[in-house]
């Protein structure tokens, strides 16, 4: 049975860009450990020679003609942006 530590949860949360408190990390560690242990049921199965399924329908490489089409109107695209200036999206400072 895999053990999930608080530190592992903090690391995973960081990868997922989620800020969590120590207290939350302890709580999630318990739950995620129970969940991943339940998932280990799959190890009972020998899947050595089984192909993985990524998609259930028999279709590959859906292509369209390489032709440019107009995108959405800029004003429309900015409609849900909280802060924008001169037609551009504003974000917090990246470089000091």
């Amino acid at each position: 049975m895999a053990k999930m530590t608080k530190e592992e949860v903090i690391e995973v949360a960081h990868l997922a860009r989620l800020a969590i408190t120590d207290e939350e990390a302890v709580h999630f560690a318990e739950q995620l450990e129970a969940i991943t242990n339940a998932m280990e049921l799959l190890n009972e199965l020998d899947t050595e020679n089984v192909e993985p399924t990524t998609h259930v329908l028999e279709m590959v490489n859906v292509l369209r003609e390489d032709k440019s089409v107009p995108g959405l109107d800029r004003e429309l695209v900015l409609k849900n942006v909280k802060e924008h200036e001169a037609g551009q999206v504003k974000v917090p400072t990246i470089l000091e």
Partner: protein, 489 residues
């Protein structure tokens, strides 16, 4: 006269014989929603002004130009984008989000002349089985207001069960249409993967998600699926395959139909009442000329683990787009861009969503990818093969939709694994990609039970035919919940 218990055909008859108008039907839907919402809590954003105006315009269209759904009201699940109507997927992170285009299915509803009355509640990003994970409200089960409506399309099923609207759209990733349909005593169909365009459906797990109809009768369900189906070049996974006339398939004839009944769907954990209701249903279908045999889908018990690994992995990737930059909720507490992302997402997502994002991130992370994600993809193949094999000998597979009827609000919300177990009988269907319906087939302690009918790839016609034969032979779909007592006309 109440319209709440009427089918599409009955409503059209009333409209075409000028006993009522589209404007009146629409008004009554809003009146009933306003009267029942304090109890049911199924709706989020409403579209009253526009819908009322649309209804008046539509009354001017000549009868000859109208289809079977023309002018009828519908509720749309809140993870389907609707231009000009707030769309949140019941998440704080999309609070105030006002889509700038319509999902393909919404365009198709418009083309059919349907009137979107509003958006219906759901578990946040369709993650949950009770609607308790909505950031905005907890939808109640119209049969018992202390019980959950199921999820994630709980608002869709509750709104239809309460008679607020005759039609709703839901989405089903692991049972999210069928389980709430079962809990609320209505008809819910998850079509074959690829049958309905996912363009404009806020993605949870892209290889599993499908939009589908929730209605009170099988015929209405077939009509609505007809309206939303078809190939869409904006969804590269939508199937370029002809859409048959689903309503035509309701011939009433199932003579010679071969039914497989998986013994795994009657295993430990499945309630006696649910099992008995299915046994009784099989007798009804036998009387109509079908035969059934016990079969085995041997990998069923691995479906739940497979599903949670794959769905969470896909979700962790899909939900990375919510960063507070271009739309939705934005944190006020951030010094750097990294802090901005992390605080926005932490404040914007609920616990279940965070749990699944972390599970998915973990399963995809280096060192665990083969053990979890790839392993689950391989087991998915085995689960799909179980269905392929069964469908060599049988036309449909039948079992209960859920192990038990609706549970109480608050009862299992803190126990994720128990909550996930609600979907053990619906999840294998999504992993295989085949179509399945839930229709009412009984009651336990006054709460509905659902019969699940699973079909071959792109054979929704047979699923509907069998469901319709059962519906014609039984009265379950005619029963109405307690919210109907004293409800507004």
């Amino acid at each position: 006269m109440t319209f709440a218990d009427k089918t599409a055909a009955q409503l059209q008859e009333l409209i075409h014989t000028e006993q009522t108008t589209i404007a009146e039907v629409t008004k009554q839907a809003f009146d009933r929603i306003e009267a029942l919402e304090p109890k049911v809590d199924a709706f989020l954003a409403m579209n009253k002004e526009q819908a009322t105006q649309q209804a008046e315009e539509m009354d001017k269209v000549p009868f000859a130009e109208r289809g079977p759904l023309f002018g009828l009201p519908i509720g749309v699940k809140d993870n389907i984008v609707t231009e000009g109507i707030e769309t949140t997927a019941s998440s704080r992170i999309l609070e105030g989000f006002n889509p700038i285009y319509n999902a393909t299915v919404v365009e198709k509803l418009k083309a059919a002349g349907m009137i979107t009355v509003g958006k219906v509640n759901m578990d946040e990003f369709a993650m949950g089985s009770s609607n308790e994970n909505s950031y905005y409200k907890k939808t109640k089960n119209p049969w018992n207001l202390e019980a959950v409506p199921g999820g994630s399309s709980g608002g869709s099923a509750a709104a239809v069960a309460a008679g607020e609207v005759p039609f709703a759209l839901g989405s089903d990733t692991g049972g999210s249409i069928r389980q709430p349909a079962s809990f609320c005593g209505v008809v819910g169909m998850k079509p074959t993967y690829g049958r309905v365009s996912r363009f404009g459906l806020i993605a949870f797990a892209s290889s599993l998600d499908q939009i589908g109809p929730v209605t009170r009768t099988v015929k209405d369900n077939a009509l609505l699926l007809q309206a939303i189906s078809g190939h869409d070049e904006r969804d590269s996974t939508s199937a370029d395959i002809e859409v048959p006339d689903f309503a035509e398939a309701l011939t009433g004839d199932i003579q010679g139909l071969r039914i497989g009944v998986p013994k795994e769907y009657f295993a430990e954990g499945v309630g006696e009442a649910a099992k008995q209701a299915v046994r009784d249903a099989l007798k009804v279908l036998e009387e109509k000329g079908a035969t059934w045999e016990e079969i085995s889908l041997p990998h069923s018990k691995y479906a739940l683990a497979t599903y949670y690994l794959l769905a969470s992995s896909e979700a962790s990737s899909n939900l990375s787009r919510f960063d507070g930059i271009r739309y939705g909720y934005r944190t006020q507490k951030a010094g750097s861009l990294l802090e901005f992302y992390m605080n926005t997402r932490s404040e914007g997502f609920g616990d279940e969503v965070k749990r699944r994002i972390m599970l998915g991130t973990y399963a995809l992370s280096s060192g665990y990818y083969d053990a979890y994600y790839k392993k689950a993809q391989k087991v998915r193949t085995l689960i799909k093969q179980d269905f392929d094999k069964a469908f060599e000998d049988y036309d449909v597979i039948i079992g209960p939709t859920t192990p038990t009827p609706a549970f109480k609000i608050g009862e299992i919300i803190d126990d994720p694994l128990t909550m996930y177990a609600n979907d053990i009988l619906t999840i294998p269907v999504n992993l295989a990609g085949v179509p399945a319906i839930s229709i009412p087939c009984g009651f336990e302690n006054g709460l509905p039970l659902g019969l699940q009918i699973i079909g071959k790839y792109f054979d929704e016609e047979t699923v509907y035919r069998v469901a319709d034969v059962f519906e014609r032979a039984t009265e379950f779909h005619k029963k109405t919940p307690q919210t109907w007592e004293g409800a507004a006309q």
